[in-house]
């Protein structure tokens, strides 16, 4: 230690802090070439993932539904089935006249007993509503 060092009181916390701040701002920089070299090294060191011959596809909801419908003949067959179902509901709720005539003729009878096949002994009649 030289004599001149005794003339200088040590730096205080604040002044040391200024020096540390300067060091943080003036971070030593890497060269671009060095960074490129590091990136090449990373590629070389990277485990190679084996590529699958048939990668499993992730199907959307529409595609999955289509797969199910394909079992029944595809979208056209399902459309026909749906149409028939809707038509049946509509006819049931509000049957056209021709349907009424046919069903009435088919089921026409004077008594419930005849309809039930129970004979004249059982007196059961339709009630007029």
């Amino acid at each position: 230690m030289t004599d001149k060092d005794f003339n200088y009181p040590p730096l205080d916390e604040r002044k040391l802090g200024l020096l540390f701040n300067a060091a943080q701002q003036e971070a030593p920089e890497m060269g671009a070439e060095f960074l490129t070299r590091l990136q090449s090294q990373a590629f070389e060191a990277m485990p190679q993932e084996p590529k699958m011959a048939f990668a499993p596809e992730k199907l959307s909801l529409f595609e999955r539904i289509s797969d199910v419908f394909a079992q029944f003949g595809g979208w056209p067959a399902v459309a026909c089935l749906a149409t028939a179902g809707i038509l049946g509901v509509v006819i049931g709720i509000s049957p056209p006249d021709v349907v009424l005539d046919v069903t009435t003729a088919y089921f026409q009878t004077e008594s419930l007993s005849e309809l039930a096949g129970l004979g004249d002994e059982t007196e059961i009649y339709w009630e007029d509503t």
Binding site: L11, E26, M30
Partner: protein, 192 residues
Amino acid sequence: MALGISQNQRDAELLARFSKGDRAAALALTSRLAPVVFAQAFRMLGDRAEAEDVTQESLLRLWKAAPGWDATRAKITTWLYRVTSNLCIDCLRKSNRNSGDEVPEVADETPGIDLKLQATARAQALQHALQTLPDRQRQAMILRHIEDLSNPEISDIMEISVEAVESLVSRGKRALASTLAPQKKALGLEDD
């Protein structure tokens, strides 16, 4: 600069993708981690070529550890700081460098010195002064006051107790305060 916890989680995700052969993850990790490692190595060693060697070796070790990396066990940054610190200590011992060399004086204060130049001068003066510290003190000072790590984090990196870290930092600060005192005027650190 120290990286936050969320940053470490992102690093862990990138490392997992790196292990699966994702080149974009490799680029992102290298760009993010290499400057941190290099800065630490350069401040420890004071030599650019040696710092580059240490940076290269530190990252290579990370790539090799990637496939078996357990994200729950350690933070990537902590692990990298530790590896870099140990490589730097090995390098210093091999080169038989002596600490305690005289610190080169900064030129006398120039009237109207540019603030940017002043910051550069201060950083360089600190860097030279750091080289005069014993290796472990220098390591603790860099991690605490430049990398902004906490004492527990430093204790984890240096594999010593928190009390030992505090002791190293305390002694390092006293040493730097004395070493840099003669340059107070030249560095614009006069009392206001």
